[in-house]
């Protein structure tokens, strides 16, 4: 019981994130939003600000629809809708990256309509060569200068080093917890794991670390009903922030034991080197991390998924592609082909935050799981 209580704290922290953030703001803390995991939280933390991920909820986006055409990805529609609905009214600004056409073009719309006093765009490269490193370093300097100027703070190397250490410690513990899921049966379900990571993106780091350490001290035990279920890896971008897509699999008899999601392992994989100049080390981490498919080196992600499949003894892979997310939709058939080539059943499902037809989706997931038994 104790274990599930500890795990429950992550879910509660994530669900109460807006109230908690407002409380922090009333205590004089300053919070900054970020849209994509290519935003280096280290720099925000070093500026004495609290980073919070802005994510799209489920459901229609009537406010965003006034500006965005139907054929925009629902992640961007949902994020813009939160700005127009003032869901994250405690943020002093939001940071974007050059991650895809959807995001790049939506930055224009945020500048015109979001109402945030501070918006910044980091020109993330789409490759990992030396030129890309130089661009990333230039962009980090530009970001640092921008925070210093706008928030009247000074970001010294010592502050950056501390922030790197903090983020690395969180990443390391998240990896350790994630690794536990390689066990059979795994001590955490996919839904529980989702909240452990999602809360990392919305809770002040020190507090989240303390929660993570408690979890390490009292390692969870497998739930009685998870043994013998098909072990599933989920691949995609950000799943919905109610974990319904993960729950759909688990309530249909599967068990999510690994993921290739930016709301999952792609968020914390790859540490920042702690020696040397911190900005350079941060730049290297962000261009060398397990990439989102907008990055040229798509084979790195395919290899990452294949390696996870082996290490976590995965029986089948479910790829969730957000409608109109070009980069993931182009990669999906390739990923399916590669996985089938190594004898791993894989299925691709297109979905959207704004109009999920849950019943047909569930039928397809159930049918897929049936083939794995």
């Amino acid at each position: 019981m104790l274990t599930s209580h500890v795990l429950k704290r992550f879910e509660e922290a994530f669900k109460a994130r807006h109230d908690e953030a407002r409380k922090l703001k009333s205590e004089g803390k300053r919070l900054i939003g970020w849209i994509c995991t290519y935003v280096p939280e280290e720099v925000i933390i070093a500026a004495g600000l609290i980073p919070v991920r802005v994510s799209a909820g489920l459901g229609d986006t009537p406010r965003a629809n006034a500006y965005l055409p139907t054929n925009t990805c629902s992640t961007m529609k949902g994020c813009l809708d939160t700005a127009l609905a003032k869901t994250y009214d405690y943020l002093e600004g939001v940071v974007f990256t050059n991650s895809c056409d959807n995001m790049g073009r939506c930055y224009d719309i945020w500048q015109l309509h979001s109402g945030y006093p501070y918006l910044h765009f980091i020109n993330t490269p789409h490759s990992k060569r030396e030129t890309a490193f130089k661009v990333m370093l230039h962009e980090l300097r530009r970001f640092k200068d921008s925070l210093e100027r706008s928030f009247k703070v000074s970001i010294g190397e010592d502050k950056l080093r501390e922030a790197v250490k903090l983020m690395n410690e969180e990443r390391s513990i998240l990896s350790k917890i994630y690794e536990m899921r390689a066990e059979d049966p795994p001590p955490l379900t996919g839904v529980q794991s989702f909240y452990v990571v999602a809360s990392a993106m919305s809770t002040p780091k020190e507090r989240h670390l303390e929660m993570l350490k408690t979890l390490l001290e009292e390692p969870p035990k497998p739930q009685s009903d998870v043994k013998g279920r098909p072990r599933i890896l989920v691949s995609g971008s950000f799943v919905d922030d109610e974990a319904r897509l993960i729950d759909l699999i688990e309530s249909s008899g599967g068990l999510v034991v690994a993921d290739d999601l930016c709301s999952g392992s792609r968020y914390f994989h790859t540490l920042v080197e702690e020696d040397g100049k911190p900005l350079e080390a941060i730049a290297r981490r962000y261009i060398n991390r397990v990439p989102c498919p907008f990055v040229e080196h798509y084979e790195d992600r395919l290899n990452y998924v294949k390696e996870l499949v082996k290490r976590f003894n995965v029986h089948g892979v479910i790829i969730y592609g957000v409608k109109f997310c070009d980069v993931h939709l182009f990669d999906a058939p390739i990923l399916v082909e590669e996985l089938r080539g190594m004898g791993v059943p894989a299925m691709f499902l297109e979905w959207s935050h704004t109009e999920v037809e849950w019943a047909p989706l569930k039928t397809r997931v159930e049918a897929f799981l049936e083939t794995l038994r």
């Binding site: 930055y107 765009f121 182009f330 058939p333 390739i334």
Partner: protein
Amino acid sequence: MSLSKPSRERGLETTKHFFRNYVKPYFEGAHKAKEEGKPVAWVFSTFPIEIAQAFDVYPVWPEQYACLLGALQQSVKYCEVAEGKGFSKDLCSYARGVIGSLGDPQAPLGGMPKPDFIFAASTACDTHLKWSQVLSRALKVPYFYLDVPYNVSGADPKDVEKEYVEAYLAEVDRLIEFLEKHLDTRLDKNKLNKVIETSIKVNDLWMDIMDLRKSVPCPMGAEDSWSAVFFVLACPGSELALDFYTRLKAEVEAKVKDGVGVVPEEKYRVGWDNLPPWFNLRFYDYLKSLGVVVVIEVPCITWSGRLDPSKPLESLARRELAIYSNSTMPFRLRMMSRLVEEYKLDGFILPTNWGCRFMSVGNVDLRNILYERHGIPSLILELDATDWRVYSEEQTKVRIEGFVEAMAEAKKAKVKK
């Protein structure tokens, strides 16, 4: 759905029988080059094609092949093939069409000859990268991706950040190394200079022609422009392009001199953002029947442009970085405002492109701001360049009628002022 027969009519002599006279021989040339063992590359828009031309690489333009599939009304058939392979219906229809046509011996013009390389740049869209990867895997040939920053400040070419220009030039150096390695040769600098010299002339001629369209009445309509833009995009550093534009400019100049326009009575001058419905260029005939002339298309003037002969590569880098597909709204608005003024536009047509994010997001604000600034209406039109399944001819006609009424009202309001 019903779809009108495609139009093959052009208004100008130089562009007449464009497919038969130019497109077909160009692709035949590519097949011949391949047979003779010369390198062939598939090169996507906004790539610095001149560098490849300096290595005697024969450039073939996949987007053009996609347009051609559209113009022949065969695109949907091939899109469906790609969809059958797992590619979403919401992806770029150019990409789906070309992917679906791979390996089909019945494909128009015998398909594109198998390339030695595939070239794409980040200055256009995500699709070019992902599409290149799919092609590269399917054809087992290397691709080169020129990765440079987004023009996030929306700067004009001359004001693009120096770090971004440096990154672009570093990528050009890497491209040269790539070609030297794969072709086992060295760059001939004299050859590069010659190609660039030709490209400067070609771009100047093309921009001169675009400038001539500012004349009232407009001497050259969209259906001619959409065909003629081919050479400046596909092979700007070639004698073929130089010859074509020299003749085209002379013809357009003569029209201006004689005061001959696209239609007998030019009632409304309209700008066109993004791509046309290739599967039915008769669309423009319908506009003309209402006295509406499309006098300028955004892709035709920003995917090419004048270069500075004193620093050609740097000016090429600046032009490509500040291309509208790679630039934020402030750049697009300045450019479109300039077009409204210089081309004396009465309205703008802002088509969305179903499979394209950068050509769709932002249209609502562009429409509103253009109205606030210039008092002209814009029409947001749901289109796709080659997938007519998302297009309704009849509904489009109704919407155009409404747009024409709005332009009439706006003109009246201006006269009153």
